[in-house]
């Protein structure tokens, strides 16, 4: 296995771009040493560089996916002249607005390959980044509420196991042992008759993912430029040659769009119309309490997600708001609906006070699957359309987008997720709903 080694550039004699102070590795030894020197020996986790006039590759969007892309570009493809342009601040977008759930138990083989690759990267991520992303494989359970639910879950489980991904069908009693506070009575509003668990699924610490990738990418020479909004694309000779930003024009050999919530506007700067519609997705947390739920509970029939953060908050999420929005603030009715579902499933939650809620702008694609690949315009690439499943895919999205940007062609795993699949009729439609971006 490879490890992120911030020192490897000094060893190999490759100068880091503008690296002022040597990054210190996080380790028990350095922790003790910093304890002795009064915590003065730490350097900032990443620099705040001024944008250079030109880069080999410019990644637009400093979210989890953009930072991961830059990291893998520098680490695996030797592309050191990389800038990540972020209009706000690192971790302020959807990487900080999700329910932190990680799993790979999808239905279609293309989605399975993508998300299972991601899950495998998650399993080694803290080590790779030298940053604790608090990935916790506490298991992710889909609840079954009816015979037809169980048939559907069994079908999914079979599809997963055929492709070597762990899945285990659970009886009602097994679900009850796993999550004692669930209402298992036959009279429950949503009676539980069984479930399907992916034991390797779980949660990760969202901010740590952004910060870990940012720190590791920075150590490899990537310039992370915050408060730098792209206002236009520069083209010439039938290709994109750079970007106009609020901090000046930057020339680029290749431009990778990676800004959920901004994908359509950025693509429109190049005259492209994407198969994307933006919607609000909300989530909320309770006050922190002692551990009561040590797995991830999901009900796709009623569409409610329940987990407990390491801080002790109960994290709840559900449906998107089902109408186009960029507001990053959702409708109260959805909170009421998700809370009522969660309370019906776990009645003990009714005594909790809710602490805060938030909303993110999701790129809803027209088959529920992401778009990672080239565009019809030269040297312009797009990574978008993650719907409400982007967080779990962060490592794979970055890895595959880096491969695509570095080589100019998609990797076999992301080849099916091209922008041209809609006109070819080769959609990857998990839910089987057709061209309706707002249906779950």
């Amino acid at each position: 296995m490879f490890r992120a080694d911030p020192y490897q550039n000094q060893r190999s004699g490759v100068p880091l771009h503008g690296l002022i102070k040597r990054m210190r590795r996080y380790s028990a030894f350095n922790l003790i040493r910093a304890g002795i020197d009064g915590q003065t020996s730490w350097s900032p986790a990443w620099r705040a560089p001024e944008p250079k006039p030109a880069y080999d590759i410019v990644v637009v969007g400093g979210g989890g996916h953009g930072l991961a892309t830059a990291y893998y570009l520098a680490k695996l493809h030797g592309v050191r002249s990389v800038a990540v342009l972020e209009k706000g601040w690192i971790g302020g977008g959807n990487v900080g607005r999700n329910t932190t759930i990680v799993r790979s138990n999808y239905r279609l083989p293309e989605s399975q390959r993508l998300l299972e690759f991601s899950l495998k990267l998650w399993e080694g991520l803290s080590d790779d980044l030298n940053y604790n992303v608090m990935f916790s494989q506490r298991g992710a359970v889909f609840l079954g509420h009816s015979d037809s639910d169980m048939t559907r879950l069994a079908e999914r489980g079979d599809a997963l196991r055929c492709n070597g991904i762990d899945a285990e069908l659970l009886t009602r009693e097994q679900v009850g042992r796993l999550v004692p506070p669930l209402d298992l009575s036959p009279k429950a509003r949503f009676p539980v008759v069984g479930g399907l668990i992916q034991r390797r699924g779980g949660t990760a610490r969202h901010d740590a993912v952004a910060w870990g990738y940012a720190r590791a990418a920075d150590a490899l020479g990537v310039d992370i430029i915050q408060n730098c909004e792209v206002t236009g694309l520069v083209s010439g000779g039938g290709r994109i040659t750079g970007v106009r930003t609020t901090r000046g024009e930057i020339a680029a050999g290749r431009v990778g769009l990676c800004a959920t919530g901004g994908s359509s506007r950025l693509a429109a700067m190049a005259g492209l119309r994407l198969p994307i519609e933006c919607h609000n997705l909300q989530a909320f947390v309770s006050e922190p309490i002692k551990p009561m739920i040590d797995t991830v509970i999901m009900s796709q029939s009623v569409h409610c997600y329940i987990s407990q953060s390491d801080k002790g908050e109960i994290v709840l999420g559900g449906d998107p708001d089902l109408y186009p929005s960029y507001a990053q603030r959702g409708m109260p009715r959805r909170l009421e609906e998700v809370a009522s579902q969660a309370i019906a499933l776990v009645p003990a939650l009714s005594r909790l006070r809710m602490l805060r809620s938030w909303a993110g702008t999701t790129d809803m694609s027209f088959d529920g699957s992401p778009i990672i690949g080239p565009t019809p315009i030269g040297e312009l690439y797009v990574n978008a359309g993650w719907c409400y499943g982007g967080f779990k895919a962060t490592p794979a999205s970055g890895w595959l987008y880096a491969h695509t940007l570095a080589t100019g062609a998609p990797h076999p795993i992301n080849a099916p997720f091209g922008l041209d699949r809609f006109e070819r009729g080769a959609t990857i439609d998990e839910a089987g709903v057709g061209p309706m971006p707002h249906h779950r």
Partner: protein, 84 residues
């Protein structure tokens, strides 16, 4: 949030469903490439947008709504007339 149905007056958002942007309504005799564009791509504006909604859990009328996707402010709700 209240939406002023032209037939029923102000009603809760919960009674209404979003269908699609007006620009993505496909004419029955549209050529294939025009229909594909309308069905599978969107302008996806951040700001004013003309949309087709339905008072699905009320009078069931189809409505044309002028709405801002960044602020949720509603400028106008009118009966939807095909081809208008």
């Amino acid at each position: 949030m209240l939406i002023a149905c032209p037939y029923c007056g102000p009603r809760d958002l919960a009674e209404f469903t979003f269908e699609r942007p007006i620009a993505s309504i496909v004419a029955i005799d549209a050529p294939v490439d025009v229909a594909m564009q309308a069905l599978f791509t969107r302008d996806n504006p951040r700001g004013p947008s003309a949309e087709l909604w339905r008072h699905a859990y009320g009078c069931r009328a189809w409505l044309r709504m002028e709405r801002d996707t960044a602020t949720h402010a509603i400028a106008d709700v009118a009966p939807y007339e095909a081809g208008a």
